[in-house]
């Protein structure tokens, strides 16, 4: 392991590690806790659950989000569900099985100890959420209902209609608002973090901009927690909310936090395809649709007939043909990549040729329309609302879209980054999903981090660290404010001939083409040049109208896009260096004869953690080797 990385993974049997580690963590006396100020950036599942928990323990908490209410964080959009190893269905689930599935699903690029703890905590999460009033689906006897999700062999997914993320977030949000009421939490909405401030090498505060007044402010604290979500929007088009950004984690990276596995991105196979150049985001259609829908394209690329007029013999059911045993239910990455292949071959459908059919005609014939309506009614409605087409009478069109980012700031077992005092929770860290995330496990991780990990590990940091009194008059804060102000001035002064969205779209296209579903050395090298050129152009030609002293949504976007430019270069570099295919990272050079991903465990069984050298501006690679004594390495096969 690089000497700069200490994962602090406890020794001993994996099922005892968290218990013994917790016992060894230092505590802070209840009467002293209010003297400690904790800054939490982000009010998604990870941030809101942490904020509520710290405030309940008696700490003084400051919470930040860029939305007008903490309840609107991107977690709200999660549909499918949340996993937990409750084994309520008595179908063979266990903590060990959830652990094993998550490690394997991540294609052996996650840290065993963290994942085991995640599986252990999953059980408490459901208890906590139910106690808060989260209205999970129930059986007639009043017990909680479960379903199987994302190809899992057990039914361990808890859900609340198609609104699981919303209901979990409202639970965490209400727990947090209870503490706002008790004045233990100060809430800063519409407040965007622009920089992290270090004093004596420790994270001691942040710089923010109030989005309505434009006011730039410094906030000092004993410790800082980032729970700012993922970076999917580097691709411009993704299933993420429009405001999702990399700014907070990227700024922390520039101040010394190592960024881990930035090339690991999840592409979801069933999204509504791009329709036109006005398109602003992509909508996910739950992958449960693949349980009954059959995926196909016409065999003849020049076939322009309506799909209903194409006879069965002239259709290419490519997943069923290529993967006879799993068929339409192959994992997300395979389903996505194969859609791309057939479209690359010119077989794609729709106005752009970048779509495949997902057909329910056979299922409707077999089970009847009302059965299908019961299973997917709300999804069909969403589809029709957006596209104007009726999926009961003609096939849906779908295409893969960027969905989730497994990479993030590197953290140790305590969820602390390489900057002392900077903890990172939720999608913003790299920790639990390796190279590919299983369905219904991001919500679980966010809440595990926020309710049940950080509340133990952050106090240990506070109890064992000498923290001198620091306030915002400290020169580090003053300089950081000046830097933020001059960057804003610079963005506003260019007044060029292209909009921020123009640049973001172009950046997204480069990343999608060359650093998306399938990557190659030459493509990545081209992408790096293209991004560098576009970034230069951005700083001379972008037009950010208006001023910095008021609500200015163009300015907000410009700052985020500027950070996406810097970040995308590291993402490409990481993809270039990882000479293997694993999980969501598919390098064309590393595939078997029949197009399957080939992992290279001998050379790449490690976490790639990148350090920005402030002297040279170069990114330096550090490796955290991964061991799998409890979940032995194996190769996925779905043939």
């Amino acid at each position: 392991m690089s000497h700069k990385l200490n994962s602090k993974v406890p020794t001993g049997d994996i099922d005892k590690q968290w218990d013994s580690h917790r016992f060894n963590l230092k505590l802070i006396n209840p009467s002293n806790r209010r003297k400690y100020r904790i800054i939490i950036v982000g009010t998604g599942l990870a941030g809101a659950s942490a904020a509520a928990s710290f405030a309940e323990m008696g700490y003084s908490v400051d919470v930040f989000c860029f939305q007008d209410s903490p309840r609107r964080a991107h977690s709200i959009a999660a549909q499918g569900g949340i996993n937990a190893a409750k084994n309520y269905c008595n179908d063979g689930d266990s903590i060990y099985r959830l652990f094993h599935d998550t490690i394997k699903g991540g294609d052996f690029r996650a840290r065993e100890s963290n994942v085991y703890r995640l599986a252990q905590n999953s059980v408490n999460i459901i208890d906590q959420c139910v106690a808060q009033g989260v209205p999970f689906a129930r059986e007639y006897g009043g017990h909680l209902a479960n379903r199987s999700f994302g190809g899992a062999q057990v039914s361990r997914t808890f859900y609340a209609k198609g609104q699981t993320g919303q209901q979990l977030l409202l639970g965490a949000y209400s727990a947090m608002m209870k503490e706002v009421h008790r004045k233990r939490i100060r809430l800063h909405t519409k407040t965007e973090m622009l920089d992290l401030v270090l004093v004596d090498g420790k994270a001691r505060g942040i710089i923010t901009r109030h989005l309505e007044t434009g006011k730039i402010e410094a906030h000092a604290a004993e410790t800082v927690i980032l729970a700012t979500g993922g970076y999917s929007n580097v691709f411009f088009l993704s299933t993420n909310a429009k405001g999702c950004n990399v700014t907070a984690t990227w700024r922390a990276h520039k101040k010394g936090a190592f960024f881990a596995n930035p090339c690991f991105t999840q592409i979801h196979p069933t999204c509504i395809p791009v329709k036109g150049d006005y398109q602003s985001k992509l909508t996910l259609m739950s992958e449960s649709l693949r349980n009954d829908g059959r995926v196909w394209v016409p065999k003849d690329k020049n076939d322009t007939r309506h799909p209903n007029d194409i006879p069965d013999a002239e259709r290419y059911y490519y997943l069923e043909e290529r993967y006879p045993s799993f068929g339409n239910l192959v994992p997300r990455d395979l389903a996505s990549r194969n859609a791309k292949y057939v479209c690359d071959e010119g077989l794609g459908v729709g106005a752009t040729g970048l779509a495949v059919y997902l057909d329910f005609a056979d299922a409707i014939k077999r089970d009847g329309r009302s059965a299908i309506e019961q299973r997917y009614g709300n999804l069909f409605e969403i589809y029709e609302r957006i596209t104007g087409d009726d999926p009961y009478t003609q096939p849906m069109m779908i295409y893969p879209a960027v969905h989730y980012t497994m990479g993030g700031l590197w953290v140790d077992y305590n969820l602390m980054s390489t900057i002392p005092g900077l903890h990172v929770l939720g999608e913003a860290n790299f920790s639990d999903h390796g190279a590919n995330r299983l369905g219904a496990s991001a919500l679980m991780q966010g809440l595990s981090d926020g309710y049940f990990v950080a509340p133990y590990t952050v106090p240990d940091y506070l109890a064992t660290t000498d923290l001198e009194t620091v306030d915002t008059a400290h020169p580090e804060f003053v300089t950081a404010i000046q830097n933020c102000e001059s960057r804003i001035e610079k963005l506003l002064s260019i007044k060029g001939d292209k909009t921020v969205d123009d640049f973001h779209r172009e950046l997204g296209l480069i990343m999608w083409d060359k650093c998306g579903m399938s990557r190659s050395q030459s493509g990545l090298e081209e992408a790096l040049d293209a991004v560098k050129n576009l970034e230069k152009e951005f700083w001379t030609r972008v037009n950010v109208p208006g001023s910095g002293e008021a609500l200015n949504q163009s300015l907000e976007k410009a700052g985020r896009v500027a950070d996406f430019f810097e970040f995308s270069k590291l993402k490409i570099q990481d993809a270039l260096h990882r000479n293997e295919s694993c999980g969501g990272h598919f390098r064309e050079e590393y595939q078997s004869g029949d197009g399957e991903a080939v992992r290279d465990d001998a050379n790449f069984r490690y976490v790639a953690a990148w350090e920005l050298d402030p002297e040279t501006g170069e990114e330096v690679l550090h490796k955290e080797p991964l061991e799998f004594p409890n979940a032995p390495l194996s190769t996925r096969s779905y043939k």
Binding site: V130, G133, P135, E212, D497, P545
Partner: protein
């Protein structure tokens, strides 16, 4: 590429809370019918930016109808008036070429305009803060299946919990009342055994907080239900009124 529309937009422009606003007319041509309403505004904003104007400020985030950020009055109707549809999910195929579309912010004393179509909805957070929670600390929850919930009550709670806090109900109400929003939370939590211990104080505190923030009273106009993109029912208001009366007179709350 879909069919194209030529539109006239009359949009409320207001610099900030203290300035007075006005309608400004824009012609927008060649709008794809497949675009969403917000994407149509994006296209307008790109044009305004390049012509040296300031783009129209509007709230949005998920663009999937779930975060509750977006919303405006479109031709006098909250979210544009399509059944159970947020503004971000409204698509331009519902309009015709030549249409004049009037777009203005949600209006209510308790929701002051911040800029253009953006309003300040922090009053809704304050209502939740006053009691929209169950006081359970992290770590003190019992085993989940020890709390059984009758299916009909679980369903009632789920339906009420679907509120996204968009404030369309307030904007649609002639009295600018937040009864639908408040009752949705009161009924969600009060229907569950976990939430019943605090149900009496919750309903009193939340209704009082609503009044303190300058929202009006309910006079049974039912316009809120019609405007609600999540199908929250006015039956929640009736339930809340019943519980409020019972709580004020120290009677047990009915189921």
């Amino acid at each position: 590429m879909g069919k194209r529309l030529d539109l006239t937009l009359r949009i409320w422009r207001q610099k900030n809370t203290n300035s007075s606003g006005e309608f400004v007319t824009y012609d927008l041509e060649n709008v794809d019918v497949n675009a969403s309403f917000l994407e149509m505004l994006d296209v307008l904003n790109e044009k305004l930016t390049l012509s040296g104007d300031e783009p129209v400020a509007f709230e949005h985030d998920c663009r999937e109808g779930i975060c509750g950020s977006c919303g405006a009055m479109v031709n006098g109707k909250a979210h544009g008036g399509e059944d159970k549809t947020t503004l971000c999910q409204l698509h331009m195929r519902h309009f015709k070429s030549g249409d004049v579309i009037v777009i203005e912010p949600f209006r209510a004393k308790a929701l002051p305009v911040v800029k253009d179509l953006v309003v300040d909805r922090s009053a809704l957070d304050r209502i939740i803060e006053s009691g929209g929670y169950i006081s359970v600390k992290t770590g003190s929850a019992p085993e989940a299946n020890q709390i059984l919930v009758k299916k009909d009550l679980a369903d009632r709670a789920m339906d009420a919990a679907s509120c996204i806090g968009c404030s369309a109900c307030v904007a649609a109400c002639p009295n600018a009342s937040a009864m639908l929003f408040t009752s949705a939370k009161v009924v969600h939590l009060g229907s569950l055994p976990q939430g019943s211990t605090e149900a009496a104080s919750r309903v009193i505190n939340m209704v009082d907080e609503m009044k303190t923030n300058g929202f009006g009273n309910c006079s049974n106009e039912y316009l809120c239900e019609a405007a609600c993109p999540k199908g929250i029912k006015v039956s929640n208001i009736a339930k809340m009124n019943q519980w409020y009366k019972q709580a004020m007179t120290n009677q047990p709350l009915s189921e």
